[in-house]
Structures are given as structure tokens and as C-alpha cells.
């Protein structure tokens, strides 16, 4: 399956799961909102141009906004994640080598530790920014911190489950490919 087709399918699946499964979960606590959809952005190929990545982040967030009727909210957060991603990757990666040999970020291509930190930082960024925008309209400081931490915790849990359930075959890119 080509990368393009694979990512188009992922796009649709992540949006649908977020809108029709996670957003429908009855709220356990006011701090807890399960977010998983932005994993799509973390899974995009290494070799995407930066401009395309940022634009895709915006469009992806906007699509979710269409369903949640909050134009701009998720788009802003996703754009931020997509923009920061390349910096983090170049920081985390054991230099040049892996970038060439693997197609996209995963446990095997980046290694356990760097990948976990990569996911942790971007989840914190995404949820932090999202809650911040909400908090600017109403809320207090404790609400902000509590919600960021709780939401990120849930996000990480969901991501871990997803990684375990859907192990991606990280193709080793040969010279022929």
C-alpha cells in the first residue's frame, strides 16, 4: 500500500474514531476528555516537507472542528503539533541514519525512549494548547493544570493501547525503494 493511500485511510479513521467513539464516551470527570486523533500527525512520514506538514495539520484539525462545531480550536492545536514535530524529531533522532532507513516515527524506528519522549512532549503541547484556548474563555488556574495533566494522561494511555494493538510494520527502506 502506498504511503499516500495509507495516510488517507488513517486520516478518515482517526477522525471517525475521535468523533463517534471517544467524543461519545460519557464524561467520567470534568477534567477528562479523551483525545487520540492527533496521533495521526505523529505517525506521518519523516520525509514530508515542512510546509505540507503544517498545512495538513491545519486541515486535519479543521475537519475535526467541522464535527465538534468549534471552528479553529483543534485546527490551532494541530497546526502547532505539526509545526513543532520536525524540530523534535531532529532533536530526538540518533542523527541521519534512521531517517533514511525508516519511513515514519515508531517504536522501532526511533527507539523506545526517544519515541516515548516525542509522544509525551507533543501530547502535552497539544492538550496544553487546547485547554489553554478553552481556559482563556472561562476558568481558573487549577482547572487549567488539572485538565492538562489529566487529559494528557488519558491521551498517553490511549496511544499506548493503540501502539500495542496496531503494531505497524516499520518498513526498512532499502536503496531500491
Amino acid at each position: 500500500m502506498s504511503d499516500l493511500l495509507k495516510n488517507i485511510i488513517r486520516f478518515a479513521i482517526f477522525i471517525l474514531v475521535q468523533v463517534f467513539v471517544l467524543d461519545k464516551v460519557p464524561p467520567l470527570h470534568r477534567f477528562i476528555t479523551p483525545y487520540l486523533y492527533f496521533l495521526f500527525l505523529l505517525w506521518l512520514p519523516f520525509r514530508m516537507p515542512r510546509v505540507g506538514l503544517t498545512l495538513l495539520g491545519f486541515l486535519f484539525g479543521m475537519t475535526l472542528d467541522m464535527f465538534s462545531k468549534t471552528p479553529g480550536l483543534h485546527a490551532a492545536a494541530c497546526t502547532l503539533v505539526a509545526y513543532i514535530r520536525p524540530f523534535l524529531i531532529s532533536l530526538m533522532m540518533p542523527k541521519e541514519k534512521t531517517e533514511i532507513s525508516y519511513a515514519e516515527p515508531s517504536l522501532t524506528s526511533m527507539g523506545w525512549m526517544p519515541y516515548s519522549i516525542y509522544v509525551l512532549i507533543l501530547s502535552l503541547l497539544h492538550n496544553g494548547y487546547l485547554v489553554f484556548l478553552e481556559w482563556m474563555q472561562f476558568g481558573d488556574v487549577w482547572y487549567f493544570f488539572g485538565k492538562v495533566l489529566a487529559t494528557t494522561g488519558i491521551s498517553l494511555l490511549l496511544i499506548a493501547v493503540t501502539e500495542l494493538l496496531f503494531t505497524r510494520k516499520s518498513r526498512y527502506r532499502t536503496n531500491l525503494a
Binding site: P26, P27, T33, V51, F67, P71, G72, L73, A75, T79
Partner: protein, 283 residues
């Protein structure tokens, strides 16, 4: 000039990122204006179509509850039938005069338009409900929406065949409400925490309130027909500063399982608005 181009070339990524951020934030903070212009048309129809398919499946899960609610509503309405009242046969007769009925029609104030709920949310701070009925079917922004159990919200946006309702569970909700006992006007708001409870504030302390009192819509609202159930008082709290009560109200509508709703059209609203406008002009 060359330096400007070099600068743009070097920082193109950053500039592009900032541009997208500003676009997103503008949309977010100017929600209503933007929403009316672009979002409602395209997004409502698009998301609405997907929601509709999902809803077809989802409906089955709450069918039982929904049936019960509708049955109860039917029972309530049947109880209001004139045929069920026995008039004492004494000094007056009931004559239905056709002319009178026709002229009565122009005094009708509220018209109920049934609509199906096709998407619903309770776990955000700003919850919206989507109805499968739009401007072509007579829905306009600012109309009230009630369900079989009680008040649901207010229409904020319409496209041709769908409309978006700001649910009572929304941080900007403001509904004029009153205790069914007859006194104690206040304002219904939602604090964004628990979808089962809303707050009725600004109730004067001259009123005696007890747990379990019924809260209904007031007759002073220009949207909501009077006497529609909002909920039941759960706890009473004194606000020492303003010497008013803040009442925690358990909503009558179960927002988790709303399937049918009625959009309420106030047929006299245009006239009311006109009158109010003329008053403002003359001041």
C-alpha cells in the same frame, strides 16, 4: 528588497505557521460571525450527512427510553383533551363558532415544529445539538427547542436542511426561569461541570425554596413558551453578597439520550421586536 525576499525565504515555514495559527484563532474567537458566513453552509451539510448515518445506528440503542418518554408525553397530551373533561350541564353551553376559531388562529403565539436530533454532545464545555430540520422547513436562529421531557436549548444556526442548537449545557446559556410555585424568577446558567445539573441564580431570598421544587420557563421569555419543565431543585445555596439564592437544578431532560425535539416558533416575536425597537428609538 532582496533582503526582504531572503528573509521570507528563510523564515517561510515560521511565517506560514503563524499565518495558519492566526487564521484558526480568528475563527475561534469570532465564532458566531464566521460560523454564519462559511461554516454553517458547508460544514453543517457535510458533517450533518455523516452524523445522519451514525444516528441511524445510534437510535436503536436508546429506542426503549425514547419510546417511554414519548408515551409519557402522549399521555400528558391526551389528558389535556377537551373530551376528557365533563362539563357540568348547568348554565352555559359550549359552542364552537367557526368564525371564532379562524380568528383565534391569529392570536396563536407558539407553534411547535417537530425535529429529529441527529447529533448530540454532553462532554464539552460548549455543547451543541444538531437537528434535521432547517431554514427550508421553517427554523430560524434564536428559536427555542424543547423535548418531550423539558427544555433543550436555543437554535443558533441554520442551514437549508439542518440546524445547530446551543444546548442548555453551554457556558453561554441564559434562560429566564421561575419556580412553578409562582414566584422566584431567576436565570438558568451552566457551569460546565456536570451535565446533570444547571444553576438557577438570582432568586430573591424572599421566596421560600425547598428541595424538589419544580423549575419551569417563565412567561417573560420571548423565546420559550411559559411553563415548560426545566428541572427540579437539588440543593439551595445562599449568596451572601447579593442576598439571593443559587439553586442547583437537576435537569428534567436527560441530555445523554435526546432523540426528538420540538423547535418552538414565536409567531408574535416580530411584533414584540418592533415594539421594543420603537421604544428604544423614542428614548
Amino acid at each position: 528588497m532582496r533582503n526582504v525576499f531572503l528573509f521570507i525565504q528563510r523564515f517561510f515555514n515560521l511565517i506560514f505557521f503563524l499565518f495558519l495559527q492566526v487564521t484558526a484563532l480568528t475563527m475561534l474567537f469570532r465564532y458566531n460571525k464566521f460560523h454564519e458566513a462559511v461554516f454553517s453552509g458547508v460544514a453543517n451539510e457535510l458533517a450533518g450527512r455523516v452524523n445522519l448515518r451514525y444516528n441511524k445506528v445510534e437510535t436503536y440503542f436508546t429506542l426503549q427510553k425514547e419510546n417511554n418518554a414519548l408515551r409519557e408525553q402522549n399521555a400528558r397530551l391526551l389528558n389535556m383533551l377537551k373530551a376528557d373533561y365533563a362539563w357540568p350541564d348547568s348554565s352555559f353551553r359550549l359552542i364552537s363558532d367557526t368564525v371564532k376559531i379562524d380568528t383565534l388562529e391569529q392570536y396563536r403565539k407558539f407553534l411547535y415544529l417537530p425535529a429529529k436530533v441527529i447529533s448530540n454532545a454532553v462532554n464539552s464545555q460548549q455543547n451543541y445539538i444538531m437537528l434535521q430540520r432547517g431554514s427550508l422547513q421553517g427554523v430560524a436562529p434564536n428559536m427555542a427547542v424543547v423535548g418531550p421531557d423539558g427544555v433543550i436549548g436555543t437554535v443558533v444556526n441554520v442551514s437549508n436542511n439542518m440546524s445547530v442548537v446551543m444546548s442548555m449545557l453551554h457556558r453561554q446559556t441564559k434562560i429566564v426561569a421561575v419556580l412553578k410555585k409562582g414566584s422566584g424568577f431567576g436565570e438558568i446558567t451552566w457551569d460546565g461541570q456536570d451535565p446533570r445539573f444547571v444553576t438557577l441564580s438570582k432568586v430573591p431570598q424572599t421566596v421560600t425554596v425547598a428541595k424538589g421544587d419544580t423549575v419551569v420557563t417563565s412567561q417573560f421569555s420571548d423565546k420559550y413558551p411559559p411553563g415548560h419543565l426545566i428541572g427540579y431543585v437539588e440543593t439551595v445555596e445562599e449568596d451572601k453578597v447579593t442576598s439571593t439564592y443559587n439553586l442547583k437544578v437537576r435537569t428534567a431532560t436527560n441530555f445523554h439520550a435526546v432523540q426528538h425535539a420540538f423547535v418552538v416558533k414565536n409567531l408574535q416575536k416580530a411584533e414584540m421586536d418592533e415594539l421594543e425597537k420603537s421604544l428604544r428609538k423614542s428614548q
